[in-house]
């Protein structure tokens, strides 16, 4: 069913008009809601296979649980992005193909969330990379070219590592279907070939999701993109990499494959601490939030590296929370830039006097990122820390808490610089309504998760169970 939705999306790529894109985003949002409802009620497998081949050979799509939930979140973000883009994207960028690229990106991300095949996952990654490159270089400015080359080189390197891992896995097992793979690999211990393949896959996917040794490309390339696109990147692209990591580590290799966890734990701790520290040193707001995007992936990796169902559960919850919050933060930066004309913290200020509603809407994702109790970030961090203690890695929990403290400092200074500081000698413009509406959608979602965490928690639990079941 959503396979058809994705295909329709691809066919509509020619429609450049904003209206078409808004309508399509709306349709996808409704479709994703129905899909999630079906996936939670009727059990995980609603398999659609293209091309008339029997299952496990043709191009299959299936609404398995973590993926189906994430499709809904990504549709929500893309819809909010389209609303926000009404004010942020001018006719020149629309003529350059902004809408078409955005829809292609969304289609690629959704395809990756729903595919049943390891090789297809790789194909969707490449498609997303192509669309993202188009978006990064939309204005053809010098900084954008630099960011794009970095992004392209790292992205291709990561994708090639993934492909090499896929080749090894195919050579050993003779199948690429995720469920079959989980069944085959779950039975036997790691051999030289599967361990190498796992290392290649995890390395490539870690590069895609920006985990620490491979994080350098992310802040500069995100900072170069047009803002609504950067917001969607922050919300979707790193999470797409992490979703694949989740499926490969927890689903295909199984939670029993403990040979991956020590490395993942170290990577997670380093990601959280280093990136939270780097964020403190930034004055360009886009790079600041870019580093926070990476630090958040570290939290998810921490949950995943516990190799317990509780850890996977925490990682899925964190992913949902973080997708919404990161996109919203980038929207906020766009609004600040529109009002004060600067990307630099020193050049901003006065937002609370001129745009009180904005200051409130911006505070929601900020506080949620820092993990202040009533919001979604608190529950997400709580789950990760609890899983870390339960999994016997107290040092990882401590690292997570220290990183959370650093995040609070960084976020507090960002908000007070942008909103409280008075800006002398310059008039602060009003933020257009569509920007506020885009932010309101996501802030509302964050508040809703914060106040009713059990709905998302149930989905996360079911997802963890579905991933653990994949091999049996």
């Amino acid at each position: 069913m959503l396979g058809a939705g994705v295909a329709a999306l691809l066919r509509r790529r020619a429609g450049v008009a904003e209206a078409v894109s808004l309508v399509v985003h709306g349709i996808v949002l409704v479709g994703a809601m129905m899909l999630l409802g079906r996936a939670t009620q009727d059990g995980p497998l609603a398999l659609t296979v293209f091309g008339g081949w029997p299952a496990a050979i043709g191009v299959g799509f299936s609404a398995r649980l973590p993926g189906a939930g994430l499709v809904l979140v990504s549709a929500l973000i893309a819809f909010a992005g389209a609303v926000f883009g009404h004010a942020a994207i001018g006719p020149r960028r629309r003529r350059a193909g902004y809408d078409a690229l955005m829809l292609a990106l969304l289609a690629a991300v959704n395809g990756a969330f729903l595919t049943t095949d390891l090789f297809n996952l790789y194909v969707w990654f490449e498609l997303a990379l192509l669309a993202a490159l188009g978006l990064v270089t939309l204005d053809r400015r010098q900084a954008q070219i630099g960011g794009a080359i970095r992004y392209a080189a790292f992205g291709m390197l990561g994708a090639t590592a993934i492909l090499a891992g896929i080749a090894l896995i195919y050579g050993v097992t003779g199948t690429l279907d995720l469920v079959t793979l989980a069944r085959v690999l779950g039975d036997e211990g790691p051999s030289v070939a599967t361990a190498t393949a796992a290392a290649l896959l995890v390395g490539g996917l870690a590069l895609k999701s920006g985990l620490v040794p491979f994080h350098v490309w992310l802040p500069s390339s995100y900072a170069a993109a047009p803002l609504p696109a950067a917001a969607v990147f922050a919300g979707l692209l790193t999470k797409m990499g992490f979703y694949a990591l989740l499926v490969v580590v927890a689903g295909v290799f199984g939670l029993g494959a403990t040979f991956l966890t020590p490395a993942l734990r170290v990577i997670a701790a380093a990601t959280m601490l280093l990136c939270a520290l780097s964020a403190l040193a930034q004055t360009d707001m886009r790079r600041l939030i870019g580093y926070h995007v990476v630090a958040q992936v570290g939290y998810m990796a921490a949950g995943l590296s516990m190799a317990t169902p509780a850890g996977v559960d925490a990682a899925v919850f964190y992913m949902v929370h973080s997708m919404i919050v990161q996109a919203n933060l980038f929207f906020g930066l766009g609004a600040i830039h529109r009002a004060t004309g600067s990307w630099n913290l020193r050049g901003t200020g006065g937002m609370i006097r001129s745009n009180p509603l904005f200051a409130f809407l911006f505070a929601v994702p900020m506080l949620s990122l820092a993990g202040i109790p009533p919001l979604s970030g608190f529950w997400a961090k709580l789950l990760v820390v609890r899983a870390a203690f339960a999994g016997g890695a107290a040092w990882l929990a401590v690292a997570a808490l220290v990183a959370a403290l650093l995040t609070i400092v960084s976020v507090a200074s960002l908000w007070s610089e942008a909103c409280w500081k008075s800006l002398k000698g310059r008039r602060v413009r009003r933020v257009p309504w569509s920007m506020l509406a885009g932010m309101a959608i996501l802030s509302g979602a964050t508040l809703a998760i914060g106040l009713l965490p059990e709905r998302v928690a149930i989905v996360a639990k079911l997802s963890a169970a579905a991933l653990a079941r994949m091999g049996s």
Binding site: P54, A56, I57, A88, I89, G90, P91, R92, F119, V123, E126, L129, L130, L133, T137, R140, Q142, A143, Q144, I145, G146, G147, A148, I149, R150, A152, A153, M156, L157, A159, T160, L163, A164, I166, A167, L168, Y170, G171, G174, T175, L176, D177, T180, S220, A223, A224, P226, L227, Q282, T283, D284, G334, H337, R338, G341, S342, W343, N344, R346, G347
Partner: protein, 126 residues
């Protein structure tokens, strides 16, 4: 045969990685193209050798015998197309960068790393 192909793939990938480590953007571009070729050889090895039954043939149907696994070849074709598309896009970006800055040195990319000067107001989004 497998050993030979494996060494070929290793040699290609080694050369490709060496080129990627260079500072010249064109070398990086060619290195990435070469790297995807090396991986394609790996995929080829993964599918071709041995008489293992490919998953295409279900029990009860007639097997293909010693034939090569067609799925791996389909995968390689897809990978070639994707690698080609990405190489072209990267080449376009490199050419654009060369036109605007007149340099092919990766160190000049650091322009993107410089934080914006607050005094220089950027043109607005629209």
């Amino acid at each position: 045969m497998t050993i030979l192909y494996a060494f070929c793939a290793a040699a290609i990938m080694g050369a490709a990685l060496y080129m990627i480590l260079s500072r010249n953007l064109v070398r990086i571009l060619l290195g990435l193209a070469l790297l995807s070729t090396g991986v394609n050889v790996m995929l080829f090895v993964a599918g071709d050798f041995g008489s293992r039954q490919p998953p295409l043939i279900r029990a009860g149907e007639k097997a293909l015998g010693e034939a090569a696994d067609p799925l791996a070849q389909a995968l390689i074709l897809t990978a070639i197309v994707i690698g080609f598309a990405l190489t072209v896009v990267l080449a376009t970006i490199v050419v654009t960068g060369w036109r605007s800055s007149g340099s092919l040195d990766a160190r000049d990319l650091d322009a993107a790393e410089q934080p914006d000067d607050p005094e220089i107001r950027e043109p607005h989004a629209d």
